[in-house]
Symmetry: none
Subunit: 212 residues, 4 copies
DNA sequence: GTGTAACCGAGACGGTACGTCTAGTCTTGTG
DNA sequence: CACAAGACTAGACGTACCGTCTCGGTTACAC
């Protein structure tokens, strides 16, 4: 059995340097050309220091992304999901912000890398989903639950399904580049989804529902 | 400039052997451990014959998948998208079949590999989208157009948006493994989407819309 | 059994182009980087045309060198070995000419290449020796025999040994680069050798013999 | 600039294994079919470990030969060149031993390989000459100097020339295979050379000089 | 204070695969 | 049928990284 390292003696300085280097490099050369050796060299760190604490370069990047999203959280001063009482408006705001994030190279490179790595690595996928994705989906569900409680959604609406109807098409376009990611797209998406689950998607959203 | 090889003299036998080997190996060892050397060895082919005709292992796999989907097309005798007149039933049938396909290891390994590779390789992504994805999306749109012409959808329905509302959440679950992929899920998805765009999602689909 | 090609239908034009290209290339890139492909390309010839008629690139070079030395023979109008009656002077003249030839890059590259290739390839070595070397050594022996018949050498002198005492040290210096190849060196060599076998090596050549 | 590896951390075990494998393989398959990959595989070593410390397979073989000759030196308990006072006898003994060594396949393969490689690679040739050849030639010169000091050679004898008159013809026959390498040949060679430079080539060596 | 046990930077090691190059064979027209 | 052209199988080339393993050095806690 290989003995576990003593995390209490871990060098925080090296840890930060590694995560920063990984983020910088994945933006510069892309995930496929990202190497542990390059991360170590850029961080001024021995390779073993990376191998001691992470099982793969994808895991390094996951931690780096977690740190990054943690910073973003505190930087923007966000306390969670907006709730102005207007569900459609809130969802549109969040999806627009997501579109912007997906367009920011600072986030895009690691996000694509992790999604790609997770696609063929179930273990990584599980950690990725659990630590990054689910917390965000939970925020959607919480906002939708509030709306349902307020009678703005059908009482039997499947909140997880609705969440995925919002997030799924957005992610699909981003990942597969089938069409450009725009605010107009996400606005229309919110309207269509809410029309289907009983929310008022806007002026013509209601109109659609009433057709036939 | 490097001169292009003369494709009229290409060995069809080698080409088939390479594609078959690639598909077999990606199923056996996964995409990350798939190597050009192994494909060449299994196919009884020189490495240069692969490098001569494909720029990357992902490109090989894309061609292999194209061949595979071409075969599936002829094998099942499908002539396209079903059109029984019942839009909801047709969509459910197709999405159920897609769920089944996503669960078939024969298709899953290369599909995940290509999606992952495309996520970080725009060139490959473009070919992947154009050659595999768009033709399928076009079938959805055609079926939806027929439904719209028949007055089963709102006259101003955005067919591409509806298509992505169907395909996006399904792909999202499959790729990110946020929840199990079931027929119940896709059935509910079809109902919810059609409810939003004026189609009858089934007996209680209409009910949902009117509920408030 | 592999059938032999029909040499009566051989293209003389291709043969010359191949030999010329081989000589030119060996001078430009050296023997180690000389490739059959490059020879064929430069000669405007298919690779198979080379493989049909020669077993190796060394064999091509040997034929090329034979052709080259044949030309040199006719170009310089030499009819063989000089015989002025003065053995020492004749030998010095020939060795000086050999030194000059060894310094001419036009001859040096193929000569070194063939010597090197022959060192580890006995078949090639045999052809090389028989076709290029022996005819030259025979000229030395003939001149020495004439001298011996004229009483200028000991009657029991071993002509082959004397020849090798002249040619050996010269070749040694050239091949191994232990010291610079100069006319002074070969002049001294001739004097010393003739002193040992009873020829008058010059004014001080005799002196040396008489020492003690 | 590529940084040099830290030789203090070099693995002596790997170094020996590489040299041994190179010697064994060059004897088995010959120099032209000797590959770095095969050396690495046989030595149980990564290819990079060879490329890290040697620039070419010829350089490996040179080091291997140096080690081999170092061993031979200590194995045979030789302390240098014999000096019995009888110059002719001493030279004959050494040249006979050289003939024997040239006939020993253990030495012949690497010796031919290095000579061939050096013929077309001046860098290698320089190292080969400096590290293997010159030390041996220096022994000849030292012995000849002792003889000259003892009045057995002409006072103005060119020791380097005499050395090459001994070693050149021997090497010539060995390398070019113009005639069989025998003890009789080298004995006659010694006699002839010494006759030319004033040494007593043996009982009839003097006779030869004075004859006629 | 001084062991002594761990992490640390550094980098050599045995390996695998890369993408390129060349060898030598086979195939496909053309003259 | 020899030829030019060039695709083919095969495999060595030299490089880049992998993940493991010393090697000193430098903390940081135990005695």
């Amino acid at each position: 059995m290989t003995k576990a390292p003593d995390s209490s003696r871990r060098s925080e300085h090296s840890r930060r340097a590694i995560l920063d280097s990984a983020l910088a490099l994945v933006g510069e050369v892309g995930y496929n050309k990202l190497t542990i050796e390059a991360i170590a060299a850029r961080a001024g760190v021995g390779k073993q220091t990376i191998y001691r604490w992470w099982p793969s370069k994808a895991a390094v990047l996951l931690d780096a992304s977690l740190a990054l999203s943690g910073e973003a959280w505190t930087d923007t001063g966000w306390s969670g999901f907006p709730d102005t009482g207007d569900l459609a408006a809130d969802l549109k705001a969040v999806l627009r912000a997501t579109v912007d994030e997906f367009s920011d190279p600072r986030y895009e490179a690691p996000a694509r890398a992790l999604t790609a790595a997770g696609a063929t690595d179930p273990d990584l996928s599980a950690r990725f989903t659990e630590q990054l994705l689910e917390p965000q989906l939970a925020l959607y569900e919480a906002r939708l639950r509030a709306a349902r409680d307020a009678g703005q959604l059908a009482a039997d609406a499947d909140l997880r399904l609705v969440t995925e109807m919002l997030v799924g098409p957005l992610t699909y376009r981003w990942l597969l580049r089938t069409a450009p990611l725009t605010h107009a797209f996400t606005d229309a998406l919110v309207d269509s989804v809410l029309a289907g689950v009983g929310g008022a998607g806007g002026a013509d959203g209601v109109a659609k529902v009433t057709v036939r």
